[in-house]
Symmetry: C2
Subunit: 406 residues, 2 copies
């Protein structure tokens, strides 16, 4: 320690996979996570997929001694699943819900119901305010034909914009979460480039854990083996990212991941491996972490790439909006026709009922059902179009700003 | 001008009431607004309820000469209706959509479909970055029995939190919009107290316009006279609020509202009056605008009052969630019973069909309809409960912080 004192910050990040009734051995694992966190006493714990508020409450009670401050972020139908435990006082919290998060009718993927968000807490970290974010982005279900890529890119962009707009409130920004993106994916390059966040894995002086820092590995007994077939070593989708805002420097001394079963047990914490970083935060002369001017060109390329993908999503959403709207109009026309026929029969225009009453009613109910469904779909895709269009616009503005920079 | 140069900023704020097919003489009024803005050349124009993107495009073309920078915020099914025109370069934009905004089934009120939001632009205002927000909160349809009060309070709270978290990016924060709250309402006291924003009307050295600064007045030929019966002078629900963040001072030199018909015409701009402020921004020693410590007690009272109202909304939402859930279970039971009866008949257990086929199918369709509807309602109210609960928690945290402050 030279000059100003150093804050040594130990951070723990884990996607807990704690879905009530669905996740295997959930209660046992949550207990295990709680026990380990109590023993290890980190400074800051960022958890995702704690969908049950009861699990959070149990953890809070268990961890009250070593992590006196905590927050659970509520959103969506199921919840955001995000929570934070901290040794440092939590000064303020903010929840930002992404404008797009999958489709309500994709019940099997369920992302829409979670109300995926980024939960931000402002901490008083001994010498400086720390902004800490816990988050999860939309899952990737099929890498080859990733229908959710535009949504994930909108989320990455909104996250980056959110960080840019809120990060001035603190000296250090610290993000931990399951980004559901591989390190070289356009979304993560966009997020890192546009915010200047640095990847603890790439910057760490020492690393210990799964090869390449992978956090979803075939060796984990809960992980989905078929999904990981193309990646025999696993994939890295959980990250700890950081940057210094003002006259501070942040260095990553050590990064670790868990490797399979927790010590003394036969099961791992979750289907994801936990990521643990030890950071050194020190007040110094010049700020670091801001994207240097020379990187503008590369950043412009990333923004262009992301904008192209968002454009693809926009056109798909426009097509879906159009076809659902057309279907709704057809259903409405059918209903009107039927109403006219029924009125005609009632008024005694026809000598006899042209259709059997039963089929007539069945058709009317079907038409009504289709009308309601397609109208809802049309509204949903209208919202989707608006948000994708808005993001495309914002990215264009960003590109212009990058090009105009001296 | 002494010492550092002063920036004289002229701001125009208007709820344009430009709803396609519904608002009276919309195109004429939008043209009129454009002409006036071009003649008057303000520095910053914040508009709400510009629901049609075509109207925005028309305005942008017309105003390109005097307001070279502009942004339209897209959200929701219909849109946020928010746009900003500026003489200063727009550096960045951010849209924050409130987590609660009325009910989708209240079609006659339509707030839910708008995706009401706060649109934020970061401007480069000659000497300092300015954060400018244009926004609208949920409308008040019945002051005596205001079912939307909890939603509006959640919005006011989220707005205040959003401003607190993002305002460090600028030296001056400037908010213009239709807050749909009277000056003494708990929501506006909460917003002002929690952010330290100052009311241009209260601070202005000179005022000119409708009595008490009212912006919804019976004299306006488009305003709803019956709504304004209890308020013969009108009500003030459109505001320009501001605060200085860092070493700047902001003073309001003049505030004006329009009074009925625009000059040279027989119609006003909108059913709301426009608010125009002339602000002086100067770099100085100490920051102003932050809520002083002595005001903490009063602020705690406001937060407590708001939290009580949010609690009332929470209990109502819980009741609605419960009753919609119960209804869904009943509909499901009925469907299952019918399925069992139908299967029984098919399997030849009964000697004859106990019910007429037509009524049987009608009942099944009805039960299915009720099931879909009540399940959707249940999900919606679950989200509502989560957001109200989350806000209640955040307010409690704020109260604790206020009480613990030395």
């Amino acid at each position: 320690m030279e000059g100003e004192p150093t804050l040594r910050l130990r951070v723990f990040d884990l996607n807990c996979w704690a879905i009530r009734y669905l996740s295997k051995r959930r209660q046992e694992r949550v207990r295990l996570i709680g026990d380990t966190l109590r023993q290890e006493s980190f400074d800051l714990v960022l958890l995702q997929e704690v969908w049950s508020e009861q699990d959070y409450s149990d953890l809070r009670v268990k961890l009250a001694g070593c992590y006196p401050f905590s927050h659970y972020f509520r959103s969506g139908v199921i919840g955001s699943g995000l929570c934070v435990f901290s040794r440092f006082p939590i000064l303020d919290t903010l929840l930002y819900q992404y404008s797009l998060n999958g489709y309500p009718y994709m019940l099997q993927h369920g992302d829409w119901f979670c109300g995926k968000s980024v939960g931000q807490v402002l901490l008083w970290g001994v010498t400086a305010p720390l902004l800490s974010l816990s988050l999860q982005l939309h899952a990737e279900y099929c890498r080859e034909k990733d229908a959710y890529l535009p949504h994930r890119l909108v989320q990455a962009w909104e996250l980056a914009q959110f960080i840019r707009h809120t990060s001035k409130a603190a000296d250090v920004v610290l993000l931990g979460g399951d980004l559901n993106m591989h390190p070289e994916d356009v979304g993560i390059r966009l997020l890192r480039g546009w915010t200047g966040l640095r990847d603890a894995f790439a910057e760490a002086r020492r690393f210990e854990g799964c090869k390449n820092g992978c956090t979803l590995v075939p060796d984990n007994c809960f992980s989905n083996k078929s999904e990981l077939l193309p990646f025999p070593l696993g994939i890295r989708i959980d990250y700890i990212l950081y940057k210094a805002i003002s006259s501070f420097t942040v260095k990553c001394e050590e990064l670790k991941t868990t490797t399979g079963p927790a010590p003394g047990t036969d099961i791992p914490f979750s289907d994801h491996e936990a990521v643990m970083a030890t950071l050194h935060i020190q007040r110094q002369g010049q700020p670091v972490g801001a994207p240097p001017g020379t990187a503008d060109l590369a950043l412009a390329d990333v923004v262009t790439e992301a904008r192209t993908e968002v454009g693809v999503g926009l056109r798909a959403a426009q097509r879906q909006r159009y076809s659902s709207g057309r279907m709704a109009v057809l259903a409405l026309l059918l209903l009107l026709l039927q109403a006219a026929a029924a009125l005609g029969t009632l008024a005694g225009l026809g000598t006899e009922q042209p259709f059997p009453k039963f089929s007539f009613c069945l058709l009317a109910f079907l038409a009504l059902g289709v009308l309601v469904l397609t109208t809802s779909l049309h509204m949903f895709h209208t919202m989707e179009v608006k948000m994708l269009h808005g993001t495309e616009d914002q990215m264009w503005m960003a590109l212009r700003a990058l090009q105009e920079r001296p």
